[in-house]
């Protein structure tokens, strides 16, 4: 339970002269929900992009299950067991919900050229496995009724569910959620929260970026606060919310007294 699943060691990320992430050190333990909060532009999404290989790190190391994964390609990192969602909800808008989930499991099969052309038995078996996975996830994210709908026509909340489902279809050990409740109305938040808690029960470690207080206070086991690319503090949500430096970062010096 307390084993370090992901370790970030002194990671830096520069965009030209701007240091978006500055010598960041933290770790995520296996089985927990870890949240990252911070004012706009504090480097949260940049951090996700560095961990998942979308941006190369300027310095430092990212270690996953004891293995150095710094600057590997995004698809390699996904294959190693880190899945992510994006801030702007991203699904394959022209495909059906089921098709979206089927392709989510693609990385766990081979789908070789010769087998594809000959329509070999093993290839059909692989496709069947992807379909089974998709059906399983469909039930888990409670979109069974919308199975054959075109993903682009779903509500924002359902698209969020679907994007989380696609990430889950990759069989990850660590799931990075970038604002899972962003752009969703207040009533629908609780259903996403219960989905996140359900994922935790499945023994998937979760790291999330969150703005909404209800979510940021209630679900995480531990919270890290970023400001201008630096870690201000880390601890339980309650602890963190009382921290003077955090209040200062969000509201300015005069409120921090």
């Amino acid at each position: 339970m307390n084993e370090k699943l992901l370790e970030v060691k002194g990671v830096c990320k520069d965009f030209g002269g701007l240091r978006a992430i500055d010598n960041l050190e933290f770790h995520i333990r296996e089985g927990e929900i870890f949240s990252i909060i911070g004012p706009n532009g504090s480097g949260k999404t940049t951090l996700f992009n560095v961990i998942t290989g979308f941006y190369p790190a300027t310095g430092g190391k990212v270690i996953f299950k004891g293995e150095d994964i710094t600057n590997l390609k995004p698809f390699t990192i996904a294959q190693k067991g880190i899945a992510r969602t994006f801030q702007l909800t991203t699904v394959f808008t022209r495909d059906t919900v089921l098709d979206n989930l089927i392709i989510g499991h693609r990385l766990r099969i081979k789908a070789g050229l010769v087998g594809t052309i000959l329509g070999s038995h093993s290839n059909q078996e692989e496709e069947r496995r992807c379909r089974e996975k998709a059906e399983e996830i469909l039930e888990f994210i409670e979109l069974t009724r919308q199975k054959n709908m075109i993903a682009g026509n779903l509500t924002q909340e359902a698209q969020k569910r679907l994007s989380i489902g696609m990430a889950l279809a990759t069989d990850p050990q660590l799931l990075l959620l970038d604002e899972p409740t962003g752009g969703v109305n207040f009533k629908e938040i609780s259903s996403l929260v219960s989905l996140i808690e359900k994922i935790k029960e499945k023994k998937v470690t979760i790291c999330l970026i969150e703005h909404k207080m209800k979510v940021a206070m209630d679900i995480p086991d531990r919270t890290m606060v970023l400001s201008y690319g630096r870690k201000i503090t880390e601890g339980s949500p309650r602890q963190v919310s009382q921290d003077r430096r955090v209040i200062e970062a969000y509201l300015g010096k005069s409120y921090a007294a």
Partner: protein, 328 residues
């Protein structure tokens, strides 16, 4: 769902009837002219179908397809004429050469995206034509390659053989090649591999985050499509018997592009419909003095404005609006 289930067998039946019809044509059509037109339709349909894989299904606008058609044709012509290789090994070698050059070009070109990829591949197309035109020592330049023989006979047991001297035999060879192309591309499109290609088309970044290597998938799709372009080129070379640099020109690319767009990009039948209709009309209207590319231009503009999905897309919309609820 139920309508789709009911529709499926009828669709299979229609395809089967069409194939049988295609095979019986030489029995009642004796006109060499009509058979010639049908052969040209099949060759262009093959090239357009292969272009559809990279462009329609993988979403990469490859404007070098005509070059690969030309490379296949010239490789076969040169192998047969200059090295005296038999047609069948030359066919395989020419396809291999096309794929190899496709690999060399695909590796750098596929690093670019969207319109940059389109421009990059189009430049490659122009370069290929210029090389074929000016490397007179090898390709005879603008004079062209003359006298490429028809496919060599295939020996059968008991001293018999299949010859390709008659136009009917050539028709069958090219028809079977087309059907094979369609079958293989159909298999690919309707498999997990095809799903991967379409995921790249939908959103490359998302596909990468789900563990798919976009480069690998795009390169694979590109190489498969160049393979069939090369194959179609070889068949063209052996059937027509004469090659000039224009066969690799970017005009050919745009003609193939037009076939795909008018028929319906990203559908199995689209490129076939486009290739057959446009080849038929342009061959039959040979006497009328409308410059063909100008006419294509107008048709394309109309299709782009009123019928974005091409003929296939139009028919599908019509079908859905007719059948009240409509299956897929």
């Amino acid at each position: 769902m139920e309508t789709a289930a009911k529709l499926f067998p009828t669709r299979k039946l229609i395809v089967l009837l069409l194939i049988i019809f295609a095979f019986t044509i030489p029995f009642f059509v004796t006109s060499r002219f009509i058979l010639h037109i049908l052969i040209m339709c099949c060759i262009w349909a093959m090239a357009a179908t292969s272009m559809n894989l990279i462009m329609g299904y993988t979403g990469q606008v490859n404007l070098a397809h005509g070059a690969f058609f030309g490379i296949g044709a010239y490789s076969a012509g040169l192998l047969i004429l200059k090295l005296g290789i038999n047609f069948w090994p030359a066919l395989i070698l020419a396809c291999a050469i096309t794929v190899f050059l496709g690999f060399l070009i695909g590796l750098p070109a596929l690093r670019t995206k969207g319109s940059y990829f389109a421009i990059g591949t189009m430049c490659f197309n122009v370069i290929v034509t210029v090389i074929i035109d000016s490397w007179e020592g090898l390709t005879e330049g603008a004079r062209g390659l003359l006298g490429i023989p028809r496919p060599a006979p295939i020996p059968l047991p008991f001293g018999r053989e299949i010859t390709f001297t008659s136009i009917g035999a050539n028709y069958y060879l090219i028809l079977i090649s087309l059907l094979l192309t369609i079958l293989i591309i159909y298999r690919i499109v309707h498999s997990m591999m095809g799903r991967t290609f379409m995921a790249i088309r939908g959103n490359e970044e998302l596909a990468e985050s789900l563990g798919m290597s976009a480069m690998k998938a795009k390169l694979l799709s590109f190489l498969i499509s160049t393979f069939f372009a090369g194959w179609a080129g070889v068949l063209y070379a052996a059937y027509i018997g004469f090659l000039s640099p224009e066969i690799s020109d970017y005009h050919v690319t745009f003609e193939l592009l037009t076939f795909c767009l008018i028929g319906g990009l990203g559908t199995m039948v689209g490129p076939l419909i486009g290739a057959f209709i446009l080849t038929l009309t342009s061959e039959l209207l040979h006497g009328i003095a409308i410059p063909r590319l100008v006419a294509y231009g107008f048709v394309l503009i109309i299709i782009m404005i009123f019928l974005r999905g091409g003929i296939t897309g139009g028919v599908r919309t019509l079908w859905l609006s007719l059948g009240r609820k409509g299956g897929r």
